[in-house]
């Protein structure tokens, strides 16, 4: 299609040639990048045999338990997932988090779900899904959520994977 248009243009110039300077632009953007600096870990806890509950890990690393969940100070402790973001300076970006994460224990085959997953960017200083890259093109954010523990949940180490996406607005 482009070739046809160009041929038409040349034939026009033969009849009456004219030159006009027009602007051409290209916007080369710095690719946005994300790296994980810390895994999401709800730490160690126990649960009553007859009453389940939740473990809420805030985006600022504060852990609280409800109902039958008893938090333990045993290692390893709780940590937020943490990420560094880099890209175009002074540019806003959006964070996409999963709605749920499933963690599994390999021996028993038991699982738990994590929901109410939240992010908190250093640039915004509050929970939210939008951040702003700084003058040097960097920002960071943390992720927390709510772990749902059923009554008598099998003991063991649970793990699962999840995707986090960042995109320019």
């Amino acid at each position: 299609m482009a070739a046809i248009i160009m041929m038409a243009g040349f034939s026009t110039k033969v009849m009456a040639q004219a030159t006009e300077t027009t602007a051409a632009a290209a916007n080369i953007i710095t690719p946005i990048a994300i790296t994980e600096t810390s895994s999401l870990h709800f730490g160690t806890m126990a649960v009553l045999a007859g009453t389940g509950g939740t473990c809420v890990l805030s985006t600022q690393g504060v852990r609280t338990a409800t109902d039958g969940v008893n938090l333990s100070v045993q290692s390893p402790g709780a940590t937020n997932a943490a990420y560094n973001v880099s890209g175009a300076v002074n540019t806003t970006y959006a964070i996409t988090l999963p709605s749920t994460i499933t963690v599994n224990e390999s021996t028993s085959g038991s699982s738990m779900t994590i929901n109410s997953i939240l992010a908190r960017t250093a640039s915004a200083g509050a929970d939210g899904l939008t951040g702003t890259l700084s003058a040097d093109g960097t920002d960071s954010f943390t992720v927390g959520g709510t772990l749902n523990v059923t009554a008598g949940q099998s003991t063991g180490l649970y793990s699962g994977t999840f995707d986090v996406t960042v995109a320019y607005n």
């Binding site: 482009a2 248009i5 160009m6 243009g9 006009e20 027009t22 051409a24 632009a25 290209a26 916007n27 080369i28 953007i29 690719p31 946005i32 990048a33 994300i34 994980e36 895994s39 999401l40 870990h41 709800f42 730490g43 160690t44 806890m45 126990a46 649960v47 009553l48 045999a49 473990c55 008893n70 333990s72 100070v73 045993q74 290692s75 390893p76 997932a81 990420y83 994460i101 963690v103 224990e105 738990m112 994590i114 992720v143 772990l147 523990v149 099998s154 003991t155 063991g156 180490l157 649970y158 793990s159 699962g160 994977t161 999840f162 995707d163 986090v164 996406t165 960042v166 995109a167 320019y168």
Partner: protein, 164 residues
Amino acid sequence: MKTLRYSLTVIALLTGISSFGQVSVTGTAYTEIVPLVTAREKVQMNLGRFSTDKNGGSLVLTPEGFRIARGSVILLNSFASQAVFVISGSSDNSLSVLLPSTPQPLIHNRTSNRIFLENWTYDIPKTNDGKIQVNVGATLEVGPESINPPGEYTGTYQVVFIFN
């Protein structure tokens, strides 16, 4: 020609955004469920009866339940016992016991005067029938009678048990 140039510009811009404007990373979530830990005070700490003169002294209660008088403290014949705690939980893990790190006050039943328990100690935890027993002792620092008049002194303290 103008139409062609503008078209090329738009194509370049769109290509850049679609390739580099979004990126994902896969992370891992963890948590560990451990057996529920319970702790029960089987026997309350009781330093028994004693007397002192105006100089005061100290009374050492060992985790094994032995009383040792120091200074002008005189032990009187009475029931006395170390504190005994029974813990259940993860017997596969070693147990840490956190005792008060600062003197803990006992309050006189009539005057509200205070007497202090310090130098808290515990013996090696013993496992029996899947439960762990920990004995706790401490040293009572007794002031002169003007500060610690005769009477009954009571108080509370906190012990933390941690499976490592």
